[in-house]
């Protein structure tokens, strides 16, 4: 069996070649590459939505209400107000992406800071930080998000803010665990003994090792965020209508599930595709950035 492990030890390699190796490992994951392509396409389509969309997503056509998919002029059909589903899906993506990416980015930064404090000063301030995060953990995520949204009123900023608050403890936990492990690692001990300040140790020794974990965790969670944001829309806490929101579109269509199933099925499929793409990319990144997983067959 020993013959099968062919990858040489990576000690002492230049970071650049490590990066190249990670990229190679990522490219080997076919589904991750497909995921990246899907996301890129989706982003391009989203950016170009005003140019390529066949209709105004908020402009209904009274004479074409609930037209089924594959009809001339409305490839994905129309909704209860006669609005083109394709146009609404395209414009809906303009919400879905920020709703997935911004909370993860915000929570990533805050979680990084809190997590490093929590993991590094684990006997003093960090303990207090982790206790507070424990409280946020214990409150069911959906409830916390809904209460925040109810407190602040619906709309994109609320959704982004409450999702950020909700996932921060999760990211902070990932960071604090990694930081706590690193704290006792030889090179960090060495840096401490050499008299480097905590700031420098955070910046030079811990951060570079923590960031990959956050990136992987964050990317994997962007898929969940797309789904979670749809939940807000579903409960009517999402973007202000008539702005198309995938979750709200599902809620809109669930009343006509029998006579016009496409109205809620189509946005559901859009959510699944984007979330799936994020999940595959996240998986690919995890394998690529974790040398232990990378070398495994």
């Amino acid at each position: 069996m020993s013959a099968a492990t062919t990858a040489p030890a990576v000690t002492g390699e230049l970071p650049r070649s490590a990066r190249r190796q990670a990229l190679a490992a990522f490219m080997r994951d076919r589904m991750a590459v497909v995921g990246v392509v899907v996301l890129l396409l989706a982003v391009i389509v989203t950016v170009l939505a005003p140019l390529i969309s066949p209709y105004d997503p908020t402009e209904g056509d009274d004479d074409n209400i609930l037209v089924p998919p594959f009809s001339p002029g409305h490839i994905l059909g129309t909704d209860t107000q006669g609005r083109d589903m394709l146009a609404r899906i395209l414009f809906g993506a303009r919400l879905a992406f920020p709703e997935a990416i911004i909370p993860v980015a915000v929570a990533g930064i805050i979680g990084l800071i809190l997590g490093m404090i929590g993991g590094y000063y684990h006997r003093t301030v960090g303990e207090a930080v982790m206790r507070v995060l424990d409280v946020l953990f214990a409150i069911p995520m959906v409830l916390l998000a809904i209460a925040i949204a109810a407190a602040l009123g619906s709309g994109l900023p609320t959704v982004v803010l409450s999702m950020s608050i909700v996932i921060t403890p999760y990211i902070a936990r990932v960071v604090s665990t990694t930081t706590a492990q690193l704290r006792s690692a030889t090179f960090v001990e060495a840096a401490r003994v050499s008299g480097f300040g905590d700031g420098r140790i955070f910046w030079r020794e811990i951060l570079p090792h923590v960031i990959p974990a956050v990136v992987v965790y964050g990317t994997t969670n962007m898929g969940a965020m797309v789904v979670f944001a749809a939940g807000f829309g579903f409960l009517g806490l999402g973007a202000q209508p008539p702005t198309p929101d995938w979750g709200a579109m599902i809620a809109d269509g669930m009343h006509s599930l029998d006579s016009a199933p496409w109205v809620s099925t189509v946005p559901g499929i859009a959510i699944v595709i984007i979330a799936l793409a994020f999940n595959y990319v996240g998986d690919g990144l995890r394998v690529a950035l974790d040398p232990r997983l990378r070398t495994r067959l």
């Binding site: 013959a3 062919t6 067959l297």
Partner: protein, 325 residues
Amino acid sequence: MTALLEVSGLTVRFGSPSGEVHAVEDVSFAISSGESLGIVGESGSGKTVTCMSLSWLLPSPPTRYVGGRITFKGEELRPHQEKRLRHIRGRGIGMIFQNSRLSFDPAYRMGAQIAEVLRAHLPQPWRELRPEVIQTLQSCNIADAEAVLDKYPHEVSGGVAQRVSIALALLIRPDLLVADEPTTSLDLLSQIEVLALLEKLRRETGLAMILVSHDLSVVRRIADRVVIMYAGRIVEQGPAEAIFSDPRHPYTQGLLFSALQKREGGRLFELPGTPPDLAALPSGCSFRPRCPHAFAACEEMPALLPAGPAREARCHLLDPAARRD
């Protein structure tokens, strides 16, 4: 005397990202009851895969059993006949692994694991077997046998684990014991003890044994016959004394020489170069790139040629016809 185990043409491969790994190529040998066979080679020479393949132990896939015939006590063993093989494994062919601590499940106490194996092979209940287990453990130089049964693998030393492992193999009374690098991961003291134990076993029970090692001195102490492997193939085999006193293959010569140097504490002599990548073997003789005697004919893979009484070696040097070129 018919062979207890006969291996012929064994060929085992794996898939890997960098190509197909030719782990074992066309290996044939035999061992008779009461005989002890040493298999020697560097890591990656295919010796471990060979002995794992005796009862088709490696899961397939990913392992590909490309060819080979294994006859054990006159019965042909075929891969994938798991039901039949299960009774051969342990009962017919016992095995001892390189790192015995890892060969025990960390989640169970040693006693439970011994009991589980015995239950799989023997009709008697654990209660009846327990005294025998204690006795066997003690005969394997485990003083506090009772206590060991209650310990988890991570709570015993490597040497004790290895001795438990041997005791366990013996308790089922196999026809053949295969020991894969039994001393490699042990400290010096344990090495000596385990070797002494194996020697004692040989002496007292006459158990047939295959001992796999990269360490010539270990093999020399125990083996009647020796097989030398390089890059998945047998390069030389024959009676132990004959091979150690007069190695015929340049690789064997290199191995012996470096071992000698080491023992005499002199300058460390290592074979130049490294073993080849099994996924991209050089054409011709696999040893050619490292061989001090390589010549034109070596661009073709030599066959195993007779090299004395009951001896063979895979080298063109033994072929007068090849030398002519």
